[in-house]
C-alpha cells in the first residue's frame, strides 16, 4: 500500500450527494446518492465516461453547480466539521481555494488571458492572506519553482499565451497550491495534454502529494491514468456509483458488469488483445433513467429483477469493496 495514504485520517466525507438540473425537457438526474470518504494522502479516482456525473459530483463540492438550473437536492459534504452544502456562502468561501483547491482540464480557459501568470498565482495570497504585491510575487516565483516551471523568476511576468499547454497546467497547479490545500480536486487534468506531458504532470502531482500528504480526487475517464496513480477507485454510471474498491482489487477483479465491460473494451499497449469486447448500446439519458439498474439495458448478465428493482451498493462476495449489482456471484 502507498505509504503516504493514511486511512485513519479522514479529510472529507461525502454523503448521499444528489444533484439535479431543471431543463425544458425534464429534470436531469446528474448525480444521485453519491457517498465516499477521502483520507489524508489518498488518491481517489472517480472513473466514468461522458455523462456519468463524475464532474458534476465534484463541482457540487466546490459550489460550482450553476443555480438555477442546477440544485443540490440532497446530501452533505463534511469537511473540518462543516457541511459545505448547508453552510453559509461566507464560511464556505473561506475554505474553497485555500483548504480545498481545484484544477481543470483546460488550463487555457481557466487562466485569465490579460493578466500575467505570476499575478494570477499570487492573487489568492494578496486577496485572502493580505500579502503585498512584492511578497505575493516572490511566493509566486517559489510556487512556480515547486511545479518545475523553468526560469520562474523571468516567466512570472509572462502571459498565459506565452506558456505551452503543459506549462499552463503547471501554472494552474501552482495556483491551486498557493494556500497549501488539504484536498486537491483534479478534473481531467491531463486529458487535453499529449501523453509525454501527461506523464510529467502526473509525476508532478505525485511528488507534491508525497510532500504535502494532501488528499487528491482525480476525475478521469482514462483507465491507464487511474491504474498508475490511484489508491481507491469509484466507478460512476448514470449518475450513481456502481463500484467502489481499492485500485488493486478493482483491476484484478472488477465486480460490476459495467466495470468488467470497460476493462475488456480498452486496447492495451503492452499486449495483444485479440478482438475487443465492446459494451453494446449507449449510456442512458439522465432525464429518463430506467427504473431498475441503469446499466441493465446494456448488461450481458441482465435478469428480470434488474429491470424493475434498483440495485444498491453491497459487499462484493469475492474480495473487499462494494458494487451495485443484483446478479453478483450468479454469472
Amino acid at each position: 500500500m502507498n505509504p503516504r495514504f493514511d486511512p485513519d485520517l479522514l479529510l472529507m466525507e461525502v454523503n448521499g450527494l444528489t444533484v439535479e438540473f431543471d431543463t425544458p425537457d425534464g429534470t436531469v438526474h446528474a448525480v444521485t446518492d453519491v457517498s465516499y470518504r477521502l483520507h489524508r494522502g489518498e488518491t481517489l479516482a472517480i472513473l466514468g465516461e461522458s455523462g456519468s456525473g463524475k464532474s458534476v459530483s465534484v463541482q457540487a463540492i466546490m459550489g460550482l453547480v450553476p443555480s438555477p438550473p442546477g440544485r443540490i437536492a440532497a446530501g452533505s459534504v463534511m469537511f473540518q466539521g462543516l457541511d459545505l452544502v448547508s453552510a453559509s456562502r461566507t464560511e464556505v468561501n473561506k475554505l474553497l481555494g485555500s483548504e480545498i483547491a481545484m484544477i481543470f482540464q483546460d488550463p487555457l480557459s481557466s487562466l485569465n488571458p490579460v493578466f500575467p501568470v505570476g499575478w494570477q498565482i499570487g492573487e489568492a495570497l494578496r486577496v485572502k492572506d493580505g500579502l503585498s504585491r512584492a511578497d505575493a510575487r516572490a511566493r509566486a516565483v517559489d510556487l512556480m519553482d515547486r511545479v518545475h516551471i523553468p526560469n520562474a523568476r523571468k516567466r512570472v511576468r509572462d502571459y498565459p499565451h506565452e506558456f505551452s499547454g503543459g506549462m499552463r497546467q503547471r501554472a494552474m497547479i501552482a495556483m491551486a497550491l498557493a494556500q497549501d490545500p488539504k484536498v486537491l480536486i483534479a478534473d481531467e487534468p491531463t486529458t487535453a495534454l499529449d501523453v509525454t506531458v501527461q506523464a510529467q504532470i502526473m509525476d508532478l502531482l505525485d511528488e507534491i502529494q508525497r510532500e504535502s500528504k494532501m488528499g487528491l480526487i482525480l476525475i478521469t475517464h482514462d483507465l491507464g491514468v487511474v491504474a498508475s496513480v490511484a489508491d481507491s477507485v469509484l466507478v460512476m454510471y448514470g449518475g450513481r456509483i456502481i463500484e467502489r474498491a481499492s485500485a488493486d482489487d478493482f483491476y484484478a477483479k472488477p465486480a460490476h458488469p459495467y466495470s468488467q465491460g470497460l476493462l475488456a473494451s480498452v486496447p492495451r499497449l503492452l499486449s495483444d488483445m485479440g478482438r475487443l469486447q465492446p459494451i453494446d448500446g449507449a449510456p442512458p439519458s439522465l432525464i429518463h433513467l430506467p427504473p431498475g439498474c441503469s446499466f441493465g439495458p446494456r448488461c450481458p448478465h441482465v435478469a428480470q429483477e434488474c429491470l424493475t428493482d434498483r440495485p444498491h451498493l453491497v459487499e462484493v462476495p469475492t474480495r473487499p469493496g462494494l458494487a451495485a449489482c443484483k446478479r453478483m456471484g450468479k454469472f
Binding site: 509525454t196 506531458v197 508525497r210 483507465l223 498508475s228 470497460l262 476493462l263
Partner: protein
C-alpha cells in the same frame, strides 16, 4: 508496388505579416516524409500534437497543397492530377474525420449524407441509390429505419458510423482515418474499432490510421510510423516497434502511456521526457529530437540521421539506436531524463 507510396512529402505553411503581408516565416509542418501503405493493410501514423501527422493525411488527400514530394495511389501521382482526373482518383481515396459532430452536414438526412458521393460520381440514382444506401447503413450497423433522421438525433458513436458509411459509398481502396475514435467514450471506441476491422476484412480495404492513442494504434495496425516534428523517426511492423523500439523518442512515447493495470504500472521503468517540443518555425538542425535527447552529441546537431534499418529488422532515424533496457541505463546515468523506477522510490 504498394497501394499508396508517399515520397519525400514536404508541407510548409507560410506565416504572413507586416505591412505588405509578405511571407515572414514558414512553419515546417511536414519535412520529407516517405512511407507505403499496402493493399488491405493498416498503416498507423502516430505522434503528439504538432508532429505533422494530420497534415500528412490532409496533404495526401489534397486538402492542403503539398510544397513538394509525390503521392502515388496505384501508380498514379495524385499531386500531379487536376480537374476530372483528380475527381475520379478521389473516389478511391476517402477520409473519416475525428469529430463526428462537425463533419456531418446538420441540414442533411442520413440518407442524403451517405448517398451524396454516389450522386456526385453518378454511380447510382433512384431505387438503386436507395438500395445502396440501405446496404451501406446495414454494413455499419445502423438501422435503415433511421435513414431519414438528421445527424443531431444520433449519438457520437452512431455519427461516426454514418461517416464510415459515407466513406465506403464509392468502394474506395484506401480510407484515411484521422483520429476516428479519439472523440468517443471508451466503451463506444471499441465498437467503432471492431467495425473498422470487420469492414477491412470484408472489403480488402487499406487504412492510413492517424492517431495519438498508441494502444489503439497497436490494436488496429499492421505497420506503424512514429512522427516527431515533421519527420518519421521510426517505422516498422507493429511488433517490431512496440516490442523493440530503438529510437529514444519512440521509447519515451511508449513508456509515457500508462497501462490499465496497477501491477504493471508499479514494476515498469519509465522514461519521462523533460521540456517541450521545439517551435516548428525554427526546428533544431540535424536530428530534431536532439534538444530533448539524453544521448545527443555534436554529430546529432550536424547530421540528420537517415531513416534506415541498422540491422534490427526495422528502420530508425537515430545515430545511436539501442534497445530500451540499454537506453534506460544510459538515461539514468545522464540524469537529463527522469527514469521513473517504481522500486527505487521511497515515500
Amino acid at each position: 508496388m504498394s497501394l499508396l507510396e508517399v515520397r519525400d512529402l514536404v508541407k510548409e505553411f507560410p506565416l504572413r505579416g507586416g505591412i505588405f503581408n509578405l511571407t515572414q516565416n514558414k512553419v515546417q509542418a511536414v519535412s520529407g516524409v516517405s512511407f507505403d501503405v499496402e493493399a488491405g493493410q493498416t498503416h498507423g501514423l502516430v505522434g503528439e500534437s504538432g508532429c505533422g501527422k494530420s497534415t500528412v493525411a490532409r496533404t495526401i488527400l489534397r486538402l492542403h497543397k503539398a510544397t513538394s514530394g509525390s503521392v502515388f495511389l496505384d501508380g498514379r501521382d495524385l499531386l500531379a492530377l487536376s480537374g476530372r482526373e483528380l475527381r475520379e482518383a478521389r473516389a478511391d481515396l476517402q477520409i473519416i474525420f475525428q469529430d463526428p459532430f462537425a463533419s456531418l452536414n446538420p441540414r442533411m438526412t442520413v440518407r442524403d449524407i451517405v448517398g451524396e458521393p454516389l450522386i456526385i460520381h453518378k454511380r447510382a440514382s433512384g431505387d438503386e441509390l436507395r438500395t445502396r444506401v440501405d446496404e451501406l447503413l446495414d454494413q455499419v450497423g445502423l438501422d435503415t429505419g433511421f435513414a431519414n433522421r438528421y445527424p443531431h438525433q444520433f449519438s457520437g458513436g452512431q455519427r461516426q458510423r454514418i461517416g464510415i458509411a459515407r466513406a465506403l459509398a464509392l468502394d474506395p481502396k484506401l480510407i484515411v482515418c484521422d483520429e476516428p475514435v479519439s472523440a468517443l467514450d471508451v466503451s463506444i471506441q471499441a465498437q467503432v474499432i471492431n467495425l473498422l476491422k470487420d469492414i477491412q476484412k470484408e472489403r480488402g480495404l487499406a487504412f492510413l490510421f492517424i492517431a495519438h492513442d498508441l494502444a489503439v494504434v497497436r490494436h488496429i495496425s499492421d505497420v506503424v510510423s512514429v512522427m516527431y516534428l515533421g519527420r518519421i523517426v521510426e517505422t516498422g511492423p507493429i511488433h517490431e516497434i512496440y516490442d523493440n523500439a530503438q529510437h529514444p523518442y519512440t521509447q519515451a512515447l511508449l513508456s509515457a502511456v500508462p497501462e490499465p493495470d496497477p501491477q504493471t504500472e508499479r514494476t515498469r521503468k519509465r522514461l519521462v521526457l523533460t521540456g517541450d517540443v521545439p517551435d516548428p518555425i525554427d526546428p533544431p538542425s540535424g536530428c530534431r529530437f536532439r534538444t530533448r535527447c539524453w544521448k545527443a552529441t555534436e554529430l546529432c546537431a550536424n547530421e540528420t540521421p537517415p531513416l534506415v534499418d541498422p540491422g534490427i529488422g526495422h528502420a530508425v532515424a537515430c545515430h545511436y539506436p539501442e534497445p530500451l533496457a540499454v537506453a534506460v541505463e544510459v538515461a539514468a546515468r545522464s540524469g537529463e531524463v527522469a527514469v521513473r523506477d517504481p522500486f527505487a522510490m521511497g515515500s
